[in-house]
Symmetry: C3
Amino acid sequence: MSEGWLGRDVISILDFDREDLEVLFEEADRMKSLLANGSVPKTLSGRIVALAFFEPSTRTRMSFEAAAKRLGAETIGFTSEEGISVAKGESLADTVRMLDSYADLIVLRHRYEGSALYAAEIAVHPVINGGDGRQHHPTQAMLDLYTVREAHGVIDGLTYGVLGDLRYGRAATSFILSLGLFKPRRVYLIAPPSLEPRAEVMMLIERLGIPAVKARLEDVIGELDVLYVTRIQRERFPDPEEYERVRGAYRVTPSTLEGAKRDLIVMHPLPRVDEIDPRVDSTPHAWYFRQARNGVPVRMALLNLVMGGGAS
Amino acid sequence: MSEGWLGRDVISILDFDREDLEVLFEEADRMKSLLANGSVPKTLSGRIVALAFFEPSTRTRMSFEAAAKRLGAETIGFTSEEGISVAKGESLADTVRMLDSYADLIVLRHRYEGSALYAAEIAVHPVINGGDGRQHHPTQAMLDLYTVREAHGVIDGLTYGVLGDLRYGRAATSFILSLGLFKPRRVYLIAPPSLEPRAEVMMLIERLGIPAVKARLEDVIGELDVLYVTRIQRERFPDPEEYERVRGAYRVTPSTLEGAKRDLIVMHPLPRVDEIDPRVDSTPHAWYFRQARNGVPVRMALLNLVMGGGAS
Amino acid sequence: MSEGWLGRDVISILDFDREDLEVLFEEADRMKSLLANGSVPKTLSGRIVALAFFEPSTRTRMSFEAAAKRLGAETIGFTSEEGISVAKGESLADTVRMLDSYADLIVLRHRYEGSALYAAEIAVHPVINGGDGRQHHPTQAMLDLYTVREAHGVIDGLTYGVLGDLRYGRAATSFILSLGLFKPRRVYLIAPPSLEPRAEVMMLIERLGIPAVKARLEDVIGELDVLYVTRIQRERFPDPEEYERVRGAYRVTPSTLEGAKRDLIVMHPLPRVDEIDPRVDSTPHAWYFRQARNGVPVRMALLNLVMGGGAS
């Protein structure tokens, strides 16, 4: 049963259950229609959201900022470690205490696994994980699930392919694990051998009962309802030739999609470099821009529920 | 006849006509008096302006930010390429799509010619060019023309001198071309040979019927109603000695202005380094600070007209 | 007698008198209770505060930003010299003139002594010194004094120890001098020989009649009501061995505090590195986090008084 959202920390997508997410999605639907009408009430007027981005980010940071401001809240914060006291050797704990005393909620992105949880233990105000380490990016998972629901009406019963860097990519990992809260028909893990999920993630996938199997894209493309693409970074490959060899197999082009179901949606957390051919953009499969757009209403819903903005 | 301002992209000053500018200037007059009374209505409350500065800027960025906020709008954005997804190899098109889905209007500064036009073709929301390439900086030209009108009551019939880097300086080029919408008596182009306007700009000047001729400052100073000064960057000169030789001839001092008309105004898009002697600041010719101040009411007027803020 | 706060520049704590500070502290009390009730009126709605941080800062910048936004004001500005026109060689005077024409008040941090005073002479709008050079950081001193008053009910009659870098640390110097406005019983200056106050500061201390004497921490710990700790930066010591030798004597640990009065408060402008052992955090002596938190209500009070926000 849902614990409710008010005042809650948002650290891992696995801290939530279906009912929680259903409440969130309905609130996001409401936000979406208020945005469309240009009639968003300033339910968070007078409130301050701290955006503490120890690592740079474009979409997560700006969509949180837009979400807060649409609801009448203000933001303070920083966009990298440079120029803040961390550079002088300040501990994360002290930085969090400061933010906690200036703001009503903290959104935190940090390169270390567990930073958001640690921050949440220190802060009096709610902490939202804007991505930490290699595993957790719960608000990305929320908007991803919301996008699936928007496209297909359901999240259960679908066949998913998750393609790319499943080892270091936190959006991909977070999305795969989030499917553990639902009943997917099957989840295909499509990655080069060196970028398959880490053992600890595979164990978690199993424990959550996610019907995940490794596959090659060409073998399963015809079965997929959702193809979630992520970037393969060249620097993950010690051998550049190895990189050149695999990249073609993980690039989505119109011909990749030839055997696809008519209502297959292609998703991507963005930014993309060349893993999705721009010619895919004009096909009905392209859902990644709509997915990015969903960042604002889903984060508005989240802020409004956690900060108790209410409906008017 | 004016197309009206609502929803319009602002890419080049040449996309506008006299009536458009007259509407803008009257709106700027109105903004100026609201600012003076401290009674600016929040006509853009709830709206978000994206400030996408791929190149750093001080005055353009901060005056747009102040303009948006005076009218009750909020801003999101970035102040350089560093730390945004562009660094990861994202295309300008994808970055623009993102901004377009988070904000209601995009102000874009970029080092490549044509970026603003390209962005405008992609974005659903209006795009304002905050300076791209070497040629276009339409909002600077708008506030420059507004400043001339404020000082002299008219823009037509005056004699202009434009001094400095007419080859790479986009403010100077934009200002010269903007005079093609009016009927200047004469426009003197005062530049070292290596910094004269490019051939394509000279052709445009001719096509627009701008009565432009090259001149030396000392020969024409007594005729000028407006002297528009811009910076000559040392790095434009392959030979440092050549730079040292020319710089004196393009530095404005009280003695330069000895033979000037009593109501000559000296303008400069700022920042200046040493091309205007600070002793000029206290003469009645110094209009560059007033010009800079006009950045806020002119950009308020522009945002209000394009975003449909209305009068109350 | 108090000159009143409206429109006043805030350059040095010594420009103010007890009555001024009493008015400020009462306004800060009021802000604190409005914050606690979540009922801060937007008395500065429509106003713009320029945050001109030529040097990076975390607490000062973010607490000013939070303070302005809690009161409904907006902010514009920059967080380092990088990327603003200063990099192109613009003078401080021209940068200040620009900010003055975009905003209603300027908060300035700069590494050069006297910058804030210089800016105040140029600007029409009030200038608040957010720290310049090695001596002045008046708003830090204000929140420090406010914190002493909160802990002890009074500022007069107490025994103070100021520990650390008294030579280059502007928070420590500003705090010591601020005690010249009150009647401390005694002020112990506790610093390594190479980090004792400069001769000019010692003369000022004397002229202000501050009962200051040099001391070693272990000799006076039992007498102190307030221990103000600041960071000793390694780079101040030409000889790293000398640094290693002294640092232990200036590190505050639970055992340092064993002989302390029960109501001794330990303060620190933060960030700290290792000059206060985290085990001190859970003792009742630890007041540095509360001190940091006071940054917001004290700066809200200051902005509201200077900008004439009034009470409702």
